[in-house]
Amino acid sequence: MSGNKTIDRIQTVTARTFDRSVLKGEGPIVVEFMSYGCAHCGVIEPDLQQAAKIVESAEKIFRVNIATDRELADIYEIHGTPTLIMFLNGKVVGRDEGPSPVLSNILALIREPYE
C-alpha cells in the first residue's frame, strides 16, 4: 500500500485533464488505468510508486481511475485493471494488462517501448 506517510508520485488525470497532461504532454508518458477497489491495483501500487521515483527524470506516470472516468476506459478499450498504456507524443506505443507486481518487471515494461 502506498500509505499516507509516503508521497504520491503518480498524479491522477481525469477526462478533463487527460488531453492536456497525456496527449499533449512531452516525452514518454505511462498511464495506469486502475480502480481503488481492485486488489491487484493495490498490490502493484508500491512498485509503481517506486518505479515513478526511479524514472521521474525521463518518464511521467499518471493514473486514470476507471470507476470514475468510464469514458476514457471505453476509448482505450480497457478490459480490466490494472492496465498500463505507454504514450509517446500523444500516441500509444505500448500496453500491458495485469503486470506482475515486481519492480524490475514494471521498470522493464515502462522502459521497453521507449528504447
Binding site: S2, Y36, G37, N65
Partner: protein
C-alpha cells in the same frame, strides 16, 4: 439532531465485492434501532482518497479496501476482527453476546482471537464467491476456488479469464460502463 456522544461509528465497506455488500446491507438493516436512529453509519469506501481522508486523516484508501475499517467517533479506527467486534457490540441483535469479545484470560482474549480468525477466513474466501476485485486468493483458498469453478461449470457459469493472474477483468458487456458509478 444527534449529540456528540450519540454520533455513530462509520463502517466502511467495499462496494465492489458482493460478499461485502451483502454483509453491509445486513449491518445497515440491523443497525436501525426501534427509535429509527442507526447505531452504525454504513458507507461505501468510494473512489476518492481525499474525501476519505476527511473522515480520518490517517485513513488510506488502499488500506480501507484491504481490511474492514470502523471509524470511531473519538477519532480512533478499529480494523479487521476488532472492527467486527465493534460492529457486533453496537447492533441491537448481537450486543447481548458481544461482551464475550472482551474476556481476557492471562492476556489473551480467546473469543476475540476466534473472531479475528473468522474474519481472516471470510476475507480470504471472498474470491471463491465471485469477488473479482478481491484479487488473487491466498494459496490455501486456490484449491477451493478451483473445485467451485469445476462444480459450477456444467451450470454454464463461466469465469472471465484475464490475460494475467494479476488482472481484474471487467464484465464483458459494456466493460468499463458496467462499473457502478459513484
Amino acid at each position: 439532531m444527534q449529540s456528540r456522544e450519540e454520533v455513530a461509528p462509520i463502517l466502511l465497506f467495499n462496494d465492489e465485492c458482493g460478499v461485502c455488500r451483502f454483509i453491509a446491507s445486513w449491518v445497515k438493516t440491523s443497525a436501525l434501532a426501534r427509535s429509527g436512529v442507526a447505531s452504525i453509519d454504513v458507507r461505501p469506501i468510494g473512489q476518492n482518497p481525499e474525501e476519505l481522508r476527511t473522515l480520518n486523516q490517517g485513513l488510506n484508501i488502499w488500506d480501507a479496501y484491504a481490511t474492514i475499517h470502523l471509524l470511531m467517533p473519538d477519532g480512533s479506527m478499529k480494523l479487521g476482527g476488532e472492527a467486527v467486534a465493534g460492529v457486533l457490540r453496537r447492533l441491537p441483535s448481537t450486543r447481548w453476546f458481544s461482551w464475550a469479545f472482551g474476556i481476557n484470560v492471562f492476556g489473551v482474549r480467546p473469543f476475540q482471537a476466534v473472531l479475528n480468525l473468522a474474519y481472516t477466513i471470510l476475507a480470504d474466501v471472498r474470491p471463491v464467491f465471485g469477488c473479482e476485485s478481491c484479487g488473487e486468493p491466498s494459496p490455501w483458498v486456490r484449491p477451493i476456488r478451483w473445485i467451485v469453478r469445476w462444480v459450477a461449470s456444467p451450470f454454464h457459469w463461466r469465469h472471465q479469464q484475464g490475460p494475467s493472474r494479476h488482472f481484474t477483468s471487467l464484465p464483458v458487456k459494456g466493460r468499463a460502463s458496467e462499473i457502478p458509478h459513484r
